[in-house]
């Protein structure tokens, strides 16, 4: 599974302040910490407070690239901000994200085609998030069709079935699991699946326990990637253990450290 570190986000106070003050050290330390913890990809989100979001995105990407060539997930709802990141991002990147709303797809998918990079597609349309797995698959199918129209390989699409907080919407987690299992039938080669994991526990108690339990459930249904707190050691260990139990990693007695060593 690809573990995408969520910590470089202007929503977090220290990161927001570092963006405002152009404090490279904080950003670079955050990048290194997440990679050392086993993160495969770093999510980059300027957050709500940046004065000039495009400039902030470009600065973040360049700052991170000074210390690592790890893939970056350029995270914004605004195409201009995504483009500002794409223009300066050498190496691998993922666009995060588009929804299934036609106008949004028309803005974001050409960027994925132009830069030949994967893109996250959220199962959200003009009516919001559907109630069940079938509703999500309808939107996923329109995302697949739109990708094909734009010449984007179907396995460059990461379908995000959109998990919602369990304390408010307890019927959602099982629907997400079902949806993840259905994505592989949408196209050949099949799209990948991704989750913004921490959303499951938003506003709930025992957040870490909810996060890691749901991640293991989603993995068992075939999840390919998650945007998550990779610095949560118990979460990472649960993920690694699930990978072993699902026969995706070869067991050895030190299976946790072997996995992490394999990532460095």
């Amino acid at each position: 599974m690809q573990a995408i570190g969520e910590r470089i986000n202007g929503m977090f106070r220290s990161i927001g302040r570092a963006i405002g003050e152009h404090d490279k050290q904080v950003i670079q330390d955050c990048a290194r910490t997440q990679l050392a913890a086993g993160g495969d990809v770093l999510d980059v989100n300027v957050g709500p407070a940046a004065a000039d979001e495009q400039a902030a995105m470009a600065w973040l990407v360049e700052t991170i690239r000074e210390v690592t060539d790890a893939p970056l997930s350029l995270d914004s709802t605004k195409p201009a901000v995504i483009r500002a990141g794409l223009e300066v991002c050498t190496g691998e990147k993922i666009i995060n994200s588009t929804t299934g709303v036609p106008e949004k797809m028309a803005e974001m998918l050409p960027l994925a085609a132009e830069y030949n990079c994967p893109i996250v597609g959220l199962c959200i349309d003009a009516d919001g998030v559907p109630r069940d797995a079938e509703g999500r698959m309808e939107i996923a199918l329109s995302l697949v069709a739109a990708c094909m129209e734009h010449g984007i390989p179907t396995d460059h699409l990461y379908v995000d079935a959109v998990i919602l907080p369990v304390n408010a919407l307890q019927h959602v987690p099982p629907e997400i699991c079902r949806a993840i299992g259905m994505v592989s039938a949408l196209a050949d080669p099949p799209p990948k699946t991704i989750l913004g994991l921490s959303n499951v526990s938003q506003g709930a108690a025992q957040r870490e326990l909810l996060n890691r339990t749901f991640l293991v459930m989603a993995l068992a249904h075939g999840l390919d990637a998650a945007i998550m707190d990779v610095t949560d050691q118990e979460l990472m260990e649960a993920m690694i253990t699930a990978e072993v139990l699902l026969n995706r990693q070869v067991y050895c007695d030190d299976f946790v450290s072997a996995y992490l060593a394999s990532r460095r």
Partner: protein, 318 residues
């Protein structure tokens, strides 16, 4: 209609390991050998790069072998009691890419040769050949832990491959390799999980991945070789899908394994020519392991090596 071959996309490749050091790198070898580097399954060169052909080594014993059948002993004539001359003949006449010196004489149950005696043999063999050397202990943990450090020192800087490190006995050999600029063979008893564990233990002791070669104890054709095949293949698949703790090149021993089989040496007219049978048994075992993904094979009989070299070249033609 044109047939389009399905191409598998792999995310990773086998690591590349260089054996031997020339004078430029502080050694005295006249050539080096490069193992691994493949980004696809064996002989599928339409699918990905396989920059280094299979490496074919020959084994030399530090003690004159007893009871070798005539077809096996014949090519070596009078050199079987002289490891240096034996090694030289393997390189000069039999086209071996490198030599594996097995220090079986160190075994307390055989000659119990001293560490200094073993080191002298190592030095003599190194002086007799220009190709890289594998130094392989006798298999007795305590004795190997005495012998390997001394042999390692006498070969310092030559970038030899030292064998073998095991899950419950790896520290001494790893320390020697690190101190003297050598590489390590990690051994496991035909168990992919133990192989991975040996590799993580070696890595945690500071041996980098490009200085480790993996060895699974295997049998020969007719003796559980199918199981060996599946383990080697699964290891290669893990390497190609990003498991760097199983991403090192693999070595297989076929000489001593094949000639253990009664089919290789027993007088039995119904089984066909005794002259050819052992050679074919050894070659078939080697070729099977190459198909499974092994990167280096260690032979006894020069004709088995020759046949395997021919087949590997033939299969490598795009």
């Amino acid at each position: 209609m044109e047939l389009e071959l399905p191409i598998e996309q792999w995310s990773d490749s086998v690591s590349t390991v260089v054996l031997g050091a020339t004078s430029e790198d502080g050694g005295t070898r006249t050539s080096t050998v490069t193992l691994g580097g493949a980004a696809t399954l064996p002989f599928l060169d339409f699918e990905g790069e396989a920059p280094n052909p299979p490496v074919l080594a020959m084994e030399v014993l530090d003690t004159e072998p007893e009871g070798w059948p005539e077809p096996l002993a014949a090519p070596f004539g009078d050199v079987l009691g002289d490891p240096a001359a034996w090694a030289a003949r393997c390189v000069e006449e039999f086209d071996a890419d490198l030599i594996c010196l097995k220090l079986i004489g160190a075994d307390p149950l055989r000659r119990d040769a001293s560490p200094d005696e073993c080191a002298e043999t190592v030095r003599k063999v190194l002086d007799a050949i220009g190709v890289p050397l594998i130094i392989w202990g006798c298999g007795d943990y305590d004795k190997d832990n005495e012998v390997i450090p001394v042999c390692s020192q006498v070969a310092a800087g030559e970038r030899c491959l030292l064998g073998t490190a095991r899950e419950d006995n790896y520290r001494t050999i790893a320390a020697s390799a690190l101190a003297d600029g050598h590489l390590v063979i990690g051994e496991s008893p035909l168990d992919i999980s133990i192989q991975k564990q040996v590799n993580i233990l070696l890595t945690e002791q500071g041996v980098p991945g490009d200085r480790i070669v993996m060895y699974q104890v295997t049998g020969a054709v007719g003796y559980g070789v199918e199981y060996a095949y599946s383990i080697l293949e699964r290891t290669r698949l893990a390497a190609l899908t990003g498991d760097t703790m199983l991403g090192m090149p693999m070595v297989s021993i076929v000489g001593s394994e094949a000639w253990k089989a009664k089919e290789a040496w027993m007088e039995e007219p119904a089984w066909g020519s005794l002259e050819r049978r052992g050679i074919l048994w050894e070659a078939a075992t080697a070729e099977l392991f190459l198909l499974a993904g092994t990167d280096m094979v260690i032979f006894w009989h020069p004709e088995a090596l020759k046949h395997t070299r021919w087949l590997a070249k033939d299969l490598s033609k795009s």
